[in-house]
């Protein structure tokens, strides 16, 4: 083969590299892809601090915010006020906020809550089986589950109020639009 014949191949070889750069720089590296969104939320049966059992099946028909957290987790402190506001904004009959304590003791979790407030339900996940079932990498991770039990979003890292508001509002609106027009929840 002649050298001149092969010369046109050189710029062609740069194309995949350019494409890779375009793809790599164009995506949001803070978004971790999760295969869980759009799927049915895995069932669980966990014990609260008070010793009660909480099942996902019991919460059917409500929007469920499943928040994996730990007292040793710094970003969890950062997002905690957002969760407190979430709890205050919506009624338990519509939106259930459930904290899942991840790799932490009940005592530490209770001390954290005594310090930072928040009286929504928390459950313990002793061997992290529920966390693994939800594909949790670390804390905080938050799952938004619609009234039909489908996961609409998995947020890795601290949630923001905007995100919670948008997610909950759209989850409340979607199925209710058909059921009843009045009384859809919204942020004040």
């Amino acid at each position: 083969m002649k050298k001149t014949q092969l010369r046109w191949l050189l710029p062609l070889a740069a194309l995949p590299v350019l494409w890779l750069l375009y793809w790599g720089m164009g995506r949001d590296t803070y978004v971790l892809p999760s295969p869980m969104a759009g799927l049915q939320a895995p069932a669980f049966e966990l014990i609260t601090f008070e010793g009660d059992t909480v099942q996902l099946a019991d919460l059917e028909g409500k929007v469920v915010i499943l928040n994996f957290w730990a007292s040793w987790c710094i970003p969890c402190r950062q997002e905690h006020p957002v969760l407190v506001q979430t709890e205050r904004t919506w009624d338990d009959s519509e939106v259930v906020l459930l904290g899942v304590v991840y790799q932490d003791s009940r005592a530490n979790a209770e001390r954290f809550l005594a310090q930072y407030g928040g009286d929504w339900t928390h459950v313990l996940d002793p061997s992290q089986r529920t966390a693994i079932d939800y594909g949790v990498y670390g804390v905080p991770e938050t799952f938004f589950v619609g009234t039909d039990g489908t996961i609409s979003l998995k947020k890795v890292g601290p949630v923001t109020w905007d995100l919670v508001q948008y997610q909950v509002d759209s989850l409340l609106a979607a199925p209710r639009a058909a059921a009843s027009a009045a009384g859809t929840g919204g942020a004040p």
């Binding site: 295969p35 895995p42 790799q103 992290q128 693994i132 939800y134 990498y137």
Partner: protein
């Protein structure tokens, strides 16, 4: 140099390049695991059935370690859940073992973890779709490299004694040529 020698040399170059190409092709986690399996397995025992006394338990542990060695530890860097000491990895290893004990096949367990964590959780990418590039490209490069090496060696073999290809005159600059002429005149 004979034609046969060129082929042998080209083959040698290819063989030397082969291990590098193979490691690039798949990050084999297996090499490090066998020794670790034995350490990990007894710790995995939840009850009094011991892997040392019950061959079925030992077999289950070995299979669990094998399946787990193909799963990525979510909180590490390129480590399998067998190699990792992270709590999450240990628990995932236990999940693998429990599911095997419940009669699931290794493929079903892998599918379970993929459904939860995405294909990222597999240390060995599945050989389909765009992933085929990972498997195919090293081979393509290898074959291309073989022909490049062969052509180079052929050219080299056809060169004269002075190392310059016989069909091409030495390309010296005017200065060097002058120097060469002077040197020849002096001797």
């Amino acid at each position: 140099m004979s034609r046969a020698l060129v082929w042998v040399l080209a083959l040698l170059v290819t063989l030397v390049a082969w291990p590098g190409a193979m490691t690039a092709q798949e990050a084999e986690p297996e090499a490090a695991t066998p020794a670790l399996q034995e350490v990990e397995a007894p710790a995995e025992q939840a009850d009094d059935r011991s892997a040392l006394t019950d061959p079925a338990e030992a077999e289950l542990d070995a299979l669990a370690a094998e399946v787990a060695s193909g799963l990525r530890c979510p909180v590490c860097r390129n480590q399998s859940i067998v190699e990792s000491n992270a709590d999450l990895s240990r628990e995932m290893h236990a999940v693998v073992r429990d599911r095997l004990a419940a009669g699931e096949t290794p493929a079903e367990i892998e599918a379970y973890f993929v459904s939860r964590y995405g294909e990222w959780i597999l240390l060995r990418p599945q050989a389909r779709g765009i992933n085929l590039l990972v498997y195919g490209l090293p081979l393509v490069v290898l074959v291309l490299g073989f022909f490049v090496a062969r052509n180079r060696l052929r050219k080299w073999a056809s060169a004269g004694d002075d190392g310059v290809a016989a069909d091409r005159p030495a390309d010296l600059g005017p200065e060097d040529e002058q120097w060469l002429r002077d040197a020849l005149r002096e001797s």
